[in-house]
Amino acid sequence: MTENQIKTKNRTQTKLVLDVLIFIAFLIAMEPRSSGIPIHEWLAISILAVLVVHLLLSWDWIVQTTRRFLGKLNTQTRLNYLLNWSLFIDVMLLMLSGLVISEVVMPTLGIGLPRNFAWRGLHEFSANLFIILLGLHTALHWSWVADTFKRYVFQPIGRVFSTNAKKDVSA
């Protein structure tokens, strides 16, 4: 395996682990009634930090697509690019409205912001929109998700079982 291939493999594995973590964190953060406000708020802020890493890992694709957006580009990539921007803006709306209506994080930091119904409404709207956009984002990357899971999760597990089976037969 060349150095480049190893680099790509490591990057793909990191991306997979990170995406799974973001998804699990999102499932927990989306249920503040059960997880509690402190977990909801601090977890959301950690997701923001992980999102920066997610964007850094996709940096080359973002730069290339931005450059070619007005030129020659296939429909799916263009759609994907627009959807990713929508998702980015929606996450920002979700985070900002969450920070404004925050009951734990902002008071802990000693920051008081004027709250009202508009921010709560915006928070709920952007949270509902986020689920839909996340579904579309996952759908457009489904072949990558399925391939990566197969290569780095299912196949290694299958190999472990087949090795154990061979050991049992030889014993």
């Binding site: 927990i28 009634r33 059960s34 997880s35 977990i39 909801h40 920066v52 920002m92 009202n116 689920i131």
Partner: protein, 119 residues
């Protein structure tokens, strides 16, 4: 250094989107409050009509049985509620993924058939 620059660009985008949103929502709030639509500093509850005082036994507001009683307090539902919510969110994502993947496959199949017919 390259990574730091990229992080800075991402954070600038964060701040830009958040700044624009904050300005727009604050401006909309100011406009609505000047036209008489009520906004509340506390963010919750309806305004009390003028001259009307709340009536509680002993003159004090009774505590809610479950504590403060605000939305999202975090002590409702328990573990089962969390699982139901997570399953619901996962279900929505799964339905969207299944629908889009099915549509994409259907479109690809149709394109292939059209290509075969034209050949």
């Amino acid at each position: 250094m390259k990574t730091l620059g990229r992080i800075l660009i991402i954070l600038t985008a964060f701040v830009l989107v958040m700044g624009i949103t904050y300005t727009v929502v604050s401006a909309a709030n100011t406009a609505s409050s000047s036209t008489g639509t009520p906004t509340f500093e506390g963010g919750e509850g309806l305004p009390r009509p003028q001259g009307v005082q709340p009536q509680f036994p002993n003159g004090e507001r009774p505590e809610f049985p479950g504590g403060e009683g605000r939305e999202f307090r975090g002590d409702r539902g328990g573990g089962f509620g969390w699982i139901l919510g997570a399953v619901k969110n996962m279900g929505i994502v799964a339905i969207i993924v299944a629908a889009v993947v099915w549509l994409k496959n259907f479109q690809r199949k149709r394109d292939r058939e059209t290509q075969q017919v034209s050949e």
